[in-house]
């Protein structure tokens, strides 16, 4: 891989990461926030794979499998919490969840 290609991949990865980060901060719907979190994980994954190919070491590729597993576990628990919360409060908008004092 030539440096220009690496730059393109890392640029894309950074853009996706920034998009996800802003989404978490700005959006109010829990499910959209959750998707933005996944976007951030995927952006890191892309960076790892690109670096792994460029550096010629396999570690980054192997790490990606672990990250996918972790992300799956996180989603499973997260969606369970969201469903349980929706059953009690009938809303998943973070600005309406204010039982706890601010």
């Amino acid at each position: 891989m030539v440096p220009e290609t690496l730059n393109a991949y890392i640029g894309l990865s950074a853009a996706l990461f920034a998009l996800g980060f802003l989404g978490v901060l700005v959006r109010r719907n829990t499910l959209v926030i959750f998707m933005c979190l996944e976007l951030m994980l995927v952006a890191s994954t892309l960076a790892l794979v690109a670096f792994s190919r460029y550096n010629g070491t396999m570690e980054g590729n192997v790490f990606v499998f672990f990250i996918l597993t972790v992300a799956a576990a996180e989603v499973a628990v997260g969606l369970a919490i969201i469903v349980a919360l929706f059953r009690r409060t009938q809303t998943i908008r973070v600005d309406r969840l204010d039982t706890l004092k601010r």
Binding site: I10, S13, F17, G20, F21, V24, T30, I33, F34, L37, M40, L41, A43, S44, A47, L48, A50, F51, S52, Y54, N55, G56, T57, E59, G60, V62, F63, F66, I67, V70, A73, E74, V77, G78, I81, I82, A84, L85, R88, T89, V94, L97, T99, L100, K101, R102
Partner: protein, 501 residues
């Protein structure tokens, strides 16, 4: 396929080195089996088996404290057993044992299922123990995520309580955000340190030692700096340092009391062990970046934690925000660690004193909590010392130690950390820290005042939850913890000596 490589890798897997973690994992599975075999009376049985098992593991760790694998990499560099790691193992086991004891009190007031709680506590403890010994970023990330996902479940454990679920959701969103920051930082460090066009590039760039070597040869690499800052931000979130402390009050208030204690002590303690490992072993040559960042974070954390705690009326939020300020004091020690040899021992002493004092206070909180666990106000403590002298006395000792009143252990912890910071020449930060201690005495004494001098304020009977009677075992534990605060304060000598490495 090259079998000799696989054989070489397998030979590096010294399973004996992680015996305590394996035992905890097996114990966790055993609890589930126990529930299947005796579904009727598993509730009390499981807690006892879990306690006995953890005590056995603790005895094993203490008996083999200077184990044969100390200071050599195991699992091909994934783990690095050290004396600090052994001390943290003891610390984490102590806190998980105390969490199980607290859970027996709190879970008795709720209809929530029992078994899973004890199961997840054990899994999280095992992951924390691996986390504090990690020597490789893959290990760090995976152990941290196991801990975090376990905590998502524990925080939202009372699923009939909106407060608990809401706290779980907030912890989930902000925890996942911080994990993503950490991961992106790891990816950048891996990419930079493995770049074949840079001097000292490494084939195994995620290992601390090789990364440190690369960083020494490239002392001002911009991308590496970005990666380091992102990694530090991810860990700072877990310990609740400013500006990543926003989750603390809400999550601490909503989580069940034993989980709040677990988060406040075990998760935070492990976070500091990780931070020390990173600062001392992975990023030693980037002191020009790491030291100012951590010092600034420490100062801001002390200021924010203490000032925000002043206005709180809910004791869970109060202890959360005061925990933020404790994180600030500990960060001061971390910032001093590369320059003052005293600092590492001081941090571990501080953590031990913090564990003892916190669990004393949480023990009292668990007994005073009503059926709605998030609703624990300062007013509920009015007249406590008159009606329940033992709980009142224990609470005063615990809070006094947290505030840092001279003869108690908390004072010695703060004193050692401040001396280390002074040796490292951080005079400005030290002034802020001492001012912070003074402020903290004000709100801790507000709590003690409520328990001792405001009996006339006590609301009419029935409007506040009645404290649970203290069981024999728990009374003993509370007494030992309170005594521990006093003894460690008067005589920190052997421990301070023991913690020198």
């Amino acid at each position: 396929m090259d079998l000799s490589l696989l054989q070489h890798l397998a030979a590096g897997n010294t399973w004996g080195a992680i015996r305590p973690e394996l035992a905890l994992g097996c114990l966790a599975l055993g609890l589930l089996v126990l529930d299947l075999l005796f579904p009727k009376r598993a509730g009390g049985l499981v807690a006892c088996v879990s306690l006995a098992g953890q005590l056995a593991v603790l005895a094993d760790v203490l008996c083999h404290f200077h184990s044969v694998w100390l200071n050599q990499d195991t699992f091909n560099g994934l783990l690095h057993p050290s004396l600090a790691g052994q001390a943290m193992r003891v610390f984490l086991l102590l806190s998980s044992i105390l969490v199980v004891l607290l859970a027996r009190v709190t879970l008795a007031k709720h209809p929530a299922p029992r078994i899973e709680f004890y199961h997840i506590v054990l899994v999280v403890t095992a992951a924390l123990m691996l986390l504090v010994q990690s020597n490789h970023f893959v290990m760090l990330f995976l152990a941290l995520e196991t801990v975090t996902v376990g905590f998502y479940i524990l925080v939202s454990y009372f699923r009939t309580s909106t407060a608990s679920l809401e706290a779980g959701l907030k912890y989930l969103i902000l925890g996942a955000l911080s994990s993503a920051l950490l991961l992106f930082g790891i990816a950048i460090l891996y990419g930079v340190a493995g770049n074949p066009f840079l001097p000292g590039h490494s084939a195994d760039a995620m290992r601390y030692a090789e990364l440190a070597q690369f960083l020494t040869l490239n002392p001002h690499n911009f991308l590496a700096s970005v990666g380091i800052v992102l990694v530090l931000a991810g860990v700072a979130f877990k310990v609740g340092a400013f500006p990543f402390q926003i989750w603390i009050p809400d999550v601490y208030q909503g989580a069940p009391t034993p989980v709040t204690a677990f988060l406040a002590v075990a998760s935070k303690g492990a976070g500091f062990a990780v931070l020390l490992g990173l600062v001392l072993r992975a990023f030693p040559s980037y002191g020009w970046l790491v030291t100012p960042v951590i010092t600034a974070m420490a100062v801001a954390t002390i200021l924010f934690g203490n000032l925000a705690a002043l206005t709180q009326h809910n004791v869970k939020r109060l202890i959360g925000l005061s925990g933020v300020s404790h994180a600030g004091f500990l960060l001061l020690g971390v910032a001093a660690a590369p320059y003052a040899p005293l600092a590492v021992g001081a941090i571990y002493f501080y953590l031990l004193a913090y564990l003892i004092a916190s669990f004393t206070v949480f023990g009292v909180m668990a007994h005073l909590a009503g059926p709605e666990d998030s609703d624990q106000e300062l007013e509920h403590y009015a007249g406590l010392a008159k009606d329940h002298p033992f709980l009142g006395a224990v609470l005063a000792i615990g809070l006094g130690s947290l505030a840092g009143i001279p003869p108690l252990a908390g004072f010695m912890g703060k004193f050692f950390v401040f001396v280390a910071a002074y040796q490292a020449g951080m005079h400005g930060a030290l002034v802020v820290a001492i001012a912070g201690v003074v402020v903290s005495i004000y709100y801790y004494f507000g709590w003690i005042k409520a328990a001792y001098f405001e009996a006339w304020k006590a609301p009419a009977a029935g409007s506040v939850p009645v404290p649970t009677p203290v069981g024999k075992l728990f009374g003993l534990v509370l007494g030992v913890l309170a005594l521990g605060s006093i003894v460690l304060g008067f005589y920190p000598g052997p421990l301070g000596h023991w913690l020198q490495w």
